[in-house]
Amino acid sequence: MSVDAPEAQAAPQAPKDRPAGIGLIGWLRWGWRQLTSMRTALVLLFLVALGTVPGSFLPQRGLAPEKVATFFDRHKTLAPWLDRLSLFNVFSAPWFAAIYILLFISLAGCVLPRTKHHFSQLRSRPPKAPRNLRRLPEAASYETAAAPDEVLAEARKILKERRFRLDAYDDAVAAEKGYLRETGNLVFHLALLVLLFAVGSGTALGYKGNVLVTEGEGFSNTLTSYDAFKGGRSFNASKLPPFTVWLDSFSANYLTSGPNRGQPTKFAAKVRYQAGLKSPVTSYDLQVNHPLVVDGARVYLLGHGYAPRFTVRDGKGQVAFQGTVPFLPSEESTFTSEGVIKVPDAQPDQLGIVGYFWPTAVPNQQGKVVSAFPAAWNPQVALYVFKGDLGLSNGAPQSVYKLDTAKLKPIVMGNQTKPLAIGQTLTLPGGAGSVTFDGYKQWISVQVNHDPGRVPALSAGIIAIMGIVTSFLVRRRRVWVRAKAADGGRTVVEVGGLTLGGATPDFDAIVERLKKAAPEEPPNTDEE
């Protein structure tokens, strides 16, 4: 359009092609008006809602990356297409950002001018009384012996008490109140803008780290000690407060009977922490819903599991590995868990072991071992042992929870041997060594985060609610009182009221008060 513009201007009929020859500025103004119209806002509002829907049905990378991987395995052709549309990270997708940014521009473009207009309204005088107050939706009139000035003075007093804004015209008082309705509405919308801003800047400035800690061990708040770490766009790693947390012990309670047997009732981790190198070490009972707050960071207990302890001897009889290995629960209700032990130091062959851990091992009907309960009442492990090359030397990063069996040869199949109880040893065939199940510890998964936007976001949310409630409760009202001298020293009092959005009992109460102060008298007929 703008490319053609010079030629089009030369042509005589050009102005007809566009709305009344408005030019670029005009088009911008027109676009702005469209964007900030409530109809557009409404459409954008629905688009935001619609946009979040796929995020609740498709697995999301930010929430469950492993489920995204499974989805890719299952839907080989569909998944890449969905991925191209950012449907596995909807909430950070460009198209999603486009919708909500447009919505909030629209909101700002609508609300800011309204705020300005409202401010000028707040300073203006209540409008003059209409000539005939009796025609108003709320109206009353009577006669009194009190003088007009007295009546008007009284009316001013009453209306002022009721927090009306007043203005005096010659024979009448004009009053208005209920500006809070619009104020509340504007506060609500402005608070939403602040809320979005707080959420956005909180994410940008904050960070989040996840780490798995086994009983007796600890971690410090540095990038390298986290298993996963995510800093916001404007996050500065050098600002991480230097604290350390140790896990002394973890306990989980479960229901032991009834239909919900095995359901957890309490998780508690006894931790100690030290804020800085010189600070004292303090104990804390870390529980779900009770995060530990250190140096502005919050430490959460998110999950837990078992870490069986093994001693592996190699073919030469030397201890090639000794320690706890965190196993990941594969079944939450019974805590059947899986893990991998890699023994690169074993000789002559490296050893790789896939283990299964049953906290309460019992044989099922087929004689297979299963776990009957999530607590460790009868812990046993089954081991699948491989020997050969673990593939660690080529430098490619490997998950500690996965065994690459490409260059490995199975030597023990766990389903063909008896599971090990604590203290028992499995001797490997062919003189490859032995594995002893020494016992277990528990681990917890911990999340540490810092989000400077939380308090501002919460404040904005609360202000938004107060704004909308105010705006829903308050009505805009106008009241006029006119007092005119009539014959015989009487005064005719007229009261009129206008309430936007339906009548309220307020008006009658005002008239009542007025009549009490300047009592009503029967119309003055017989004295004449």
Binding site: M38, V48, A49, G55, N260, T265, A464
Partner: protein, 317 residues
């Protein structure tokens, strides 16, 4: 830990409440059926008044009708309301004994949520009945309540028991109570909206039908709008309280968990309704449809998300 006597008592009270709601519904229906014939005798008069004077006039017409009634209809109406209040009391006792049996707030699983939501809906209705004389809403709401409680006792039942660790927080009393109250309120608004759509469609209205006692479309629209205006800030508050809770339970205040996502969607669509009503070209029927979509989102968030999608909010079991 669980007091089985109280738990059994609670279950019996639930049964009693459902039965009483059924009786109340029959009472309301009888009120319509027997009062309906009378109303049918004076339809033209009433309609003229509606046409001439709008909502006030139609209210006046109802008053006249009631005053000159032979009393039988009033009897049925009174009976229904009386039983309804009784049912509500028994329902409340069911919830309290349930909480006492498990020694915790009585909203920890789907059975308990459903019971609490219907209780909130009936409470909202009774308050509206007292303030605004909306007995015409009674039979329709009773149907919804009976269906919901039926589903709860047959499919969602769970013995009372202690809560999972994530629910050990006083925020359950704040967040869930707000969500339940808002959901109950929106349920009443939803019933009124459906009535509005039906009423607005057959404006001509055959006299003597069950829609006779229901006020005109304009009044219905106003009532459902007011009800949603009451529910919307509570729903907003429920979401914010949920965010505060999530901040201490899950390590972040907002993470687009499916439940969070759908409460946001529900919130947006209700906000959309409130705007649509204030926007020329969307008010009336279109706005009503939007509010029903919002109500659908609310129900989906409650049932669908709990059973179809796995997330942090999975308390269906």
């Amino acid at each position: 830990m669980v007091d089985t006597h109280l738990a059994n008592l609670s279950n019996q009270l639930m049964l009693g409440a459902v039965l009483l709601y059924v009786v109340a519904m029959v009472g309301y229906a009888a009120d319509i059926a027997f009062g309906g014939r009378r109303a049918a005798a004076v339809p033209s008069e009433a309609k003229v008044l509606i046409g001439a004077g709008g909502p006030e006039a139609s209210e006046a017409a109802t008053d006249v009708e009631e005053a000159e009634d032979d009393g039988r209809r009033i009897e049925w109406g009174r009976f229904a309301v009386l039983i309804n209040v009784l049912a509500w009391g028994v329902h409340g006792a069911e919830i309290i004994t349930r909480g006492m049996a498990a020694d915790r707030v009585p909203w920890g699983n789907m059975y308990e949520f459903t019971s609490a939501i219907t209780f909130a809906a009936v409470t909202v209705y009774l308050v509206m009945l007292w303030r605004y004389k909306v007995s015409w809403l009674g039979p329709f709401l009773m149907v919804a309540v009976i269906i919901a409680l039926g589903i709860a006792t047959i499919w969602l039942y769970n013995d009372p028991g202690p809560l999972r660790p994530a629910l050990h927080s006083y925020w359950i009393a704040i967040h869930v109570t707000a969500a339940v109250t808002a959901t109950g309120t929106f349920t009443v608004a939803g019933v009124a909206t459906i009535l509005y759509l039906v009423k607005a469609r057959d404006k001509a209205g055959k006299p003597g039908g069950i829609m006779d006692r229901v006020p005109d479309a304009e009044t219905l629209d106003r009532i459902s709008h007011r009800t949603m205006m009451f529910g919307f800030p509570i729903w907003t508050f429920a979401i914010i309280a949920g965010a505060i809770w999530a901040d201490s339970a899950w390590g972040r205040y907002w993470g687009w968990d499916p439940k969070e996502t759908w409460s946001f969607i529900t919130w947006v669509v209700y906000a959309g309704y409130l705007h649509a009503r204030a926007t020329a070209g969307w008010r009336g029927r279109k706005a009503a449809v939007i509010s029903l979509i919002a109500f659908g989102c609310l129900l989906f968030n409650f049932f669908g998300i709990n059973y179809l999608v796995s997330g942090l909010h999975s308390y269906a079991g």
